[in-house]
Amino acid sequence: MSLENDPDGWFDRDVDWEKLKAILVFMVPGLTLFAIFSVYPMVYSVGGSFWVWDAFDPMHFVGLDIWVETFQDEAVINWDNIKELEYPMGALPQNLIWMVIHVPLSTFLGLGLALLFSDLRGRRILRSMVFLAFTTPTVVIGLVLLFVYDPQAGIFNELLRTIGLEGQVRNWLQEPQLSMYALILGGVWVQTGFSMLLYSSALAGIDPSLLESARVDGASRYRRFRDIIWPLVKPVTAVVVIMGMIWVLRIFAIVYAAGGPSGGPNGVYSVLGLEVYQSAFSHPIEYGRAMVVALVELFIALPMAYYIARMD
């Protein structure tokens, strides 16, 4: 991204004052709203995380106390259960586990589907079919998952019955040790469409003669993928991975719809977003704690945003 002057200074020749006024007129309305409803509340949260709150009002400054408390809170990080590798482990580790499983799966599935569809007739329709879930409201996604995993009416269990695994039939979203993975699968279902879309456009941008040249050079299908396609779509992979991570970090509605505001029985698939919501908007109201958790989310996302910004 270039932030430098317009190179020939054509617009700089007239006095800055007039230009600045014009720029201001353009930018002020939007920036005001941006400042009031995005920047200010962020700063508010940063500051507020060092205060003790009486419901919605700051009481007095306590430094890092709330930060420390939050990290000792079992709903955020449950150290005992992490050692046992048992859910619930707390919203933060669960969110990270979600990320670690979800991102590679949706990325590779997306790449695989993009490759599979790339030269088929009707690929646009095929892609739209896969992408459709990404355009539906995430609440609906959560409810759909609830429906899919239902022990009676859910098609997932029906599938198990058909392939002779009757013993495995259960309500997958009520199984403390498994429901997290069931939900992650649903997330992958949604996000694969997105990564497929990005990869498709990246693949379409590869000069076909490069692949032909590699064929003539004697490269097998696998070598062509490894040596030509994969290095050339690498920038897109970075974007897909980062967008996937941010998407997982912001997951809220899916979990809320599937498991209520607590994030499943005992919070076994609670995520950071839910934790913020619970702290801030359900009794007892703990504004400071909500801010801390939300800031943790931001800290995880910031390096990624920085990476994306640097890429241009």
Binding site: M1, N5, D6, L20, I23, M27, P29, L31, L33, F34, I36, F37, S38, P41, M42, Y44, S45, G48, F56, F117, I125, L126, S128, M129, F131, L132, A133, T135, T136, P137, T138, V139, V140, L143, V144, F147, Q152, I155, E158, W189, F194, L197, L198, S201, A202, I246, A253, Y256, A257, G260, L272, G273, V276, Y277, A280, A290, M291, L295, E297, D312
Partner: protein
Amino acid sequence: MTDTPHTDGAAESETGSSRTDGGTRVRYDVPDTAPTDDRDLSTRLVDSLPSAPRAARYAIAIGIALLWLVPLIGLFMASVRPLSEIIQGWWTFENLTITFENYEQAWNYESGPMRQALVNTAIVTIPAVLAVTLLGTMIAYPFARFDFPLKTFLFFLLIIVMAAPPELVAMGNYNTLQDTGLFDTYMGLILVHIGWGMGWVVMFLRNYLLGLPKELEEAARVDGASRYQIFKSIVLPYSAPALVSVAVIQFTWVWNSFFFPLVFMRSQENKLAPQVLPLMKGRLQIDWGLVAAGSVLTMIVPVLLFIVLQRYYKKGMVAAVAD
């Protein structure tokens, strides 16, 4: 694949291609006849079928695409069948009853009727999208073109907001809206959406406007157009495709958004459609038909929008993150 021998076409184009820069323009027939097709129709048909591995790829591709749709198909099926049949499995087709009762129920659902919720969603979404698109362009244009103090700072601010989770601004906005009396009003939610969407909209349009040829503006300046006229007559029309992309994507996001309405819309008559859906689950036995009908009603708008404008949607998606 045409079945006509190629001779005729060849003769015509050969005559057409005889050059006029020398020699008499001669009309002649094809000397060595282009090959006529000596293969019969059935050989050609067989040849035009995809080869076995390719056919397998088609089968797999179509299979996967359908698999991806199964949950949504299930949702749709559930929405048009009575609960007793859904419990048996929406995939069974014995004694299939199609009913619109679920829709009727959802439409009049007591703790948030869909007819009201959908209207509310539209009331919030449409102005929020239009405003953020226009205001975003107005910021993006100077951002892409001119230099001004604090530009880099603003740039990073936009990036941070793009990365931040919506929960981070919820607390501050909650208090702001409470203080200004905008809490639990359409206007309050609209303003939150505008402020929140500004980050990516500005970045997206800025990247697009970087490609605006400077000559266009300069020509207009030479013609005596003011900055505002340039914006109206050059910048806006030039960015029209990008604006459509932004509007479509922003529309689906705002329409689908769940967290902001959940926090800022409390009274029953102000609830938005996505907010109502989890309520429909009820306490004990989930009424799948009701939930499904409500879901279909809610998603129909963004899905139709996607299907109709998918060219812009996909292009925008790719550009928004790939730039």
